[in-house]
Amino acid sequence: MNETFYRIKILFLLACWCFSIAANAQSQEVTGTILSGTDNQPVIGATVLVKNTSTGTTTDTNGKFAINAPANSVLVVSFIGYNNKEVPIGNQTSITITLEENTKALEEVVVTALGIKREAKKLGYSTASVNTETLTQTRSTNVGNSLVGKVAGLNVSAPPTGAGGSSKIRIRGQSSFGGNNSPLIIVNGVPINNSPGGSANGAGSGGAGQAMTDTGDGLQSINPDDIESMTVLKGAAAAALYGFRAKDGAIIITTKSGKGQVGIGVEINSNFQADQALDFTDFQYEYGQGKGGKRPTTLDEVRATLSSNNAVTNGVWSFGERLDGQPTIGYDGQLHPYSANKDHIKDFYRTGTTWTNSVALSGGNEKGNFRMSFANTDANGIVPNSDFHKKILNFGLNYNLTEKLSAQLNANYSNEYNHNPPVLAQQDYNVNQVIYTLANTIDVDWLKEYQDANGNEMFHSSFKNRTNPYWAINKRLEESRRDRIFGNVSIRYQFTPWLYAQGRVGQDYFTNPYNANRPTGTAFLTPAPSGIPFNGDFYRGVSTFRERNLDFLIGANHEFGKFGIDATFGGNSMDQKSDRISTSVTGFYVRDLYTIQNGGVKDPQYAFSHKRVNSLYGTVDFSFNNYLFLNLTGRNDWFSTLNPESNSYLYPSVSTSFVFSQAFSSLPAWLNFGKLRAAYAEVGGDTDPYSNALFYNINANPFTIGTNSIALGNISGTLNPNPNLRPLKVKELEVGLELRTMDNRVNLDIAAYRKNTVDEILNVDISNTSGFEQTRVNVGRLRNQGIETLLSFVPVRTDNLNWESAFNYTYNISEVLELANNQPILTAVRGDQIGLYIGEIAHEVGKPLGSIRGVDYLRNDKGEIITRNGNFQAGKVVTYGSALPKHTGGWLNTFTYRGIRVFAQVDFKAGHKLLSNSNFNFMRHGLHKGSIPEGGRENGIVFPGVNEDGSPNTTARPADDVFYGNYRSFNIATPFVYNASFVRWRTLSVGYDLSRFVSSTFIKGLNVNAFVNNVLMIKKYVDNLDPESQFSTSDNYNGIEGHALPTTRSYGLNFNIKL
């Protein structure tokens, strides 16, 4: 390495020397002002160069400059968004130059990788800027969730997992077989950790008491009001400078600064939002609670007590008699009419509320500027006793220490408290599962008496894992707190107008104290260990995470006639450490005191992980005549996690852009701008620390025999270590076309990409008899390819009314090309591993990623369902299709009329499947309409199948819990796999700019905005549920539905005041 490094150094120094030899003899000082042709205002930061020399300067805040130029030389003035202008100076020593706006190209500046700002036209790859206004006007607690449907190439979903939950963002498909394929999130140039927390996202520690919940991701720590710009780097080429972290693209967030603020400005934003559970259920309300066609007649039969197996109710069976309104004993011991209670969802869930208030203070002068903001969010979830609170303090400072030396500081502190995030997927403590599957004649209110005289759970079902929901919300406690600070300090020295150097230190640090219990007296719990009076569990742990990035960047540019060159060279050292100290306890001495000290059996654990990646990178841009651009990048990463013999990897990229509208003057007038682009890049993916060697561990507790304490030691883990791992690689090719036509009123941006992932690191099954279940190898290959389009047009543009419409559409298709050892299939997760009943997610060679699989009916060669004695049977495990949508898109419309702004968004996903564990339960519990055969249950069911000899089945089975229970006995999934496509009217917002009414006061701006999220489900195919009802952000759980929260419709009001 050292040698390479020195070579680069020498090359670089040589280059510097070359630039500096350009010298000139007799010069005079020329001063001047640069004005904008549109408004005659000074242009700040314009570049002024003496033609054919390296002499140059930039204009100050008054648009003024001073430069030494030989007499009769020519000044070249350039600024982004304006046409370059060459001005011969003759003998003048003072000059005013007016720049014409470059309307033809509509020059847009994009923040690209490493925070380098570049003109959009020069880019040879696809990027997208997010309209940050829509993030604040129709807001979600998690800013990531606001991106749904807004950007071509981005597949965003907002899992219904509670206010403090995570968002799920995927760019150009799923790039690895692993669960987390989330893009890199960069805030002000430095990466932050965005991994989603909680067992529902596969991130639990497995401690006692931990349940399937979503405790939120890194984007929760960002206040949308602080976001100045958000750029999505979609492809590998765009993100190539991030090397090993770029496999999923990147989202570059820049926070607001006080730039342009004269004096002190204050901005106040206040947002209130109410969330209502949406009820998509369409159950049968013909037959009531009961089993085998009978209603309960005694309290014992209703309350499934210990003699539960006699109970004809089980709390969850709706296989009783026809509803007749006759007095029938209820769970509360009282007589109630035997009629349907259709409002379980309405009765149990409350209206969620979210209050967000933020205030920002900014100010600046010619030396610098600052901005400071504080935001407070209090959200009460729709599940009672579940709430989320966060406070975010953001500070940004830019200061020009000298004319050439500037410093920048950005810091973001957040404090998050997630109280009782809803339990998902699993049965235990999952209120959603209970409420949705409760027998249809039960009134939710009857369950409110949730504890008996001894303080133990009153359970309503012999399925004791179906916890009484009121017990769950009142007795169970889960708290996740996060104190987080991330930010960076950078210093930049502008040696000359064409050369700068920058150094930066960034850090993301958080601590996450977490605790959860399984309360004493919960019906399904095991008795306490001998000698300990009360059962239950408690877990408390503290995780800390620290990522430190040190980087430097040196940038230079130069023009030689029609040729331009722009080069940047930099390096980064990333150091990441995380640990977790935790204790699980089982059994308690004092009842209802959930502490570690009070615990009976204690299991303390400590986990630690440390890795470092050092990198050097460079990028060179060549331009020709301002219409042809070529960009080359290279990044070399050195990994601590890899074998020292082979720990260095190079990631190259090349991209090119051709602005043909500028190259040819003979193009038709309606074409305002046209560009072709192409790019190829290789980027990587990371590996875990310590996966290269065998480790042993000692169990936390000794085995005690009398007074002897015997330590138990084990080989760690079930994964056989592999010392020869490499990082995975993504090789991506993309081409694109950009057109702006009809006076920029009809614009098209289209990209096609092919993204191959090779050397995928896979855990490969080996024989358990080897002592390990799996080993880890570099063999997998997969591919994503697709097309992204953004078509935007302005159908109406008048003085008063403006209608902008943008339609984005992405087609992505993936294919699994190879798995290890020629194995045909790799199972990501089986439903039974995560507390569900049916289904599994797998990757199959030759098929798209994320196959949903499950047990089919037993069928004969013709595909007919075979019945035995009238009952269907279990057949083979089959693949139903991919959980990943092929089509995603959105249609965004903005209307403005005299200060009124209306925004409406419709979005859709299509071409994927969903496996519904809820509908599986609805069917076997007798709630699903499909559990009533034609002609009613009284006549039994003749299942449409054939006998083994091929003759039609004519045997009628009682249409009861036993027959429909066969779905459970055989875990049959086929009827519960749905087309997950949907079209939904996502948002409607109406804003009014009231600024002009208050213009005479101290108020500078006043805006109000009202919005509705989830306005209308226009089309869906999934019975009884929202097709977006998934409980996790993990790609391992794609397409598996498992009793997440109902999705909500929210109504909100937003006030924004500028002082």
């Binding site: 012999s462 000698g531 050195w638 042993y696 084990n714 024989s767 008899t769 080897s770």
Partner: protein
């Protein structure tokens, strides 16, 4: 310009000063674990990991435990394949004790200072492989558990012929037991005896006796030779010699946990077991069984016992004989005495050893048949005494034990050898309560007790397929599905050798 050079020089120097992969090896060494662990700790863990859950198949095949539930609990109760449950012992033994023991043996084989640990590990390994063979037939043996030692070459071990595995187990047991030496290293982390070598020798020989008796129906002369060798070297002589692990609150008994908590209302005493206890008026009944209503525990008397018959499900249990209108009318296992959460686990006992010797005497392998009576009564009494391991509350009077033994149904007539073998093995069945792998193996070997065939209508077809001659009983558990897909070639070779991978396929010594 000077300033530029200076700045660049400083930056490059700063960077150049630290090489790009400095400290990487140190960073990638886990400070929270060790790469070198004393083999003694691995041995202790292997012992603890040898406590297996056997209540879903083994205990139900021998008809002591029953559930009427389907779904996750189904298996031996309905004579069907439930792969999640059939693969249990396979995966937990290979992933736990076997891999630890192979590592212990690898670490200590050439270390004379640890020869006792080495030989104890060999005995422990033989114990576990005996269970694997008795449960699955051909399994990987010679190449098993070596992924961390030999790497990729041993990721897919070959399946060894069960007969050859047994041959090696015999050899290992004989060698290891002989080589144990009280004057050499002590293994204080031994969960059985805290390192008491004489007791380990007795365990080794008692296990050898158990292996020898497996051959009774296959090769009498071989059985005789092994049994005689084991007995002559000294088997267990009292309950103090029992190989037992007394589970603790930190390491509770997993079987107990399931039977007393989530599944408390799903497991019952099997009817044949209840009927036998009832017919013999067994004083142990009050500790074995109880009935529960609203949480209260009423110990059973033999005459009140109501075992649940096999072959029923939730849907038709109400039509089963003995159904009292309430599921709680069936007897369950008594939680406070035999299935509390820290209940001990017996591996090899004095009682079992005495009963095996009674049979060996009847068969003329050792002593004279007349001495069988003594072994038999000592064996039964030893089990009564052994019940005290469960709880201090367990007491029997000598009078009730004597009265029990004096019943004609129990008195042994050594001259009626078939009747004697039946009685001895029926008691072995009772004495192996909670040691269900052994109870199942002995049932298959001896054919006793004679149990009714479970008539569950959808039972696995192989149990009645004449090809296997399973006679309606589960003879073997099937291989894990994962092995079939991962280690395909090797496992197919084994399946061909055994003639099938079904519940009805017999183990090589199962000739009854």
């Amino acid at each position: 310009m000077k300033k530029i050079y200076l700045s660049i020089a400083v930056i490059t120097l700063l960077l150049g000063a630290s090489s790009c992969d400095k400290d990487f090896e140190e960073i990638n060494t886990n400070p929270n674990a060790t790469s070198n662990l004393d083999a003694g700790y691995l041995f202790s863990s292997a012992q603890q990991g040898s406590v297996q859950q056997t209540h879903l198949y083994q205990a139900q095949i021998v008809q002591q435990v029953v559930t009427h539930q389907t779904g996750t609990l189904e298996g031996g109760n309905h004579n069907v394949i439930n792969e999640v449950n059939t693969r249990n012992n396979f995966n937990s033994l290979y992933g736990g004790p076997i891999r630890n023991l192979v590592d212990v043996i690898d670490k200590t084989a050439t270390d004379p200072a640890r020869s006792n640990l080495y030989n104890m590990a060999r005995i422990m390994k033989a114990y576990n492989f005996m269970i694997l063979v008795d449960t699955y037939g051909d399994v990987p043996y010679f190449d098993a558990g070596k992924a961390n030692i030999e790497g990729a070459d041993s990721f897919l071990p070959k399946y060894d012929d069960q007969k050859l595995i047994y041959e090696d187990i015999i050899k290992e047991l004989q060698e290891a037991t002989d080589q144990l030496d009280a004057s050499k290293d002590k293994v204080p982390g031994d969960l059985f005896y805290l390192g008491d070598i004489p007791k380990w020798k007795k365990l080794g020989n008692s296990l050898l006796l158990r292996v020898g008796m497996r051959y009774t129906e296959l090769d009498e002369s071989k059985a005789k030779a092994i049994v005689a060798d084991a007995v002559s070297k000294g088997v267990m002589t009292s309950n103090a010699d029992n190989a037992i692990i007394r589970l603790t609150s930190a390491y509770p008994n997993a079987t107990s946990q399931q039977l007393t908590a989530t599944e408390a209302s799903n497991f019952y005493v099997g009817k044949p077991f209840a009927d036998y206890l009832k017919a013999t008026n067994d004083p142990r009944t009050r500790y074995f069984a109880a009935r529960y209503n609203s949480g209260s525990e009423v110990p059973e008397t033999p005459q009140n016992l109501n075992g649940m018959p096999y072959g029923y499900t939730v849907s038709d249990i109400a039509t089963a004989p003995g159904y009292t209108g309430n599921i709680n009318g069936y007897s369950q296992f008594r939680r406070s005495t035999v299935i509390f959460s820290t209940a001990p686990e017996h591996f090899v006992t004095y009682s079992q050893t005495q009963l095996l010797m009674a049979e060996a005497a009847i068969r003329g392998y050792i002593a004279s048949p007349l001495e069988a009576v003594n072994y038999y009564t000592t064996g039964i009494k030893a089990h009564f005494d052994q019940m005290k391991d469960y709880s201090a509350a367990v007491t029997f009077t000598n009078e009730e034990i004597d009265a029990y033994l004096a019943q004609p149904a129990l008195v042994l007539n050594p001259l009626d050898s078939e009747d004697a073998l039946r009685k001895i093995n029926e008691q072995y069945w009772v004495a192996s309560f909670r040691n269900w792998s052994e109870a199942w193996a002995n049932l298959r070997r001896s054919g006793y007790p004679v149990l009714p065939v479970n008539r569950y209508p959808s039972a696995d077809a192989s149990l009645t397929d004449p090809k296997y001659n399973a006679q309606g009983f589960i003879r073997r558990l099937i291989y894990p599905q994962k092995e079939l897909s991962v280690n395909t070639n090797n496992i197919n070779e084994a399946i061909t050798r055994m003639g099938g991978n079904t519940l009805g396929t017999r183990i090589f010594w199962d000739k009854n």
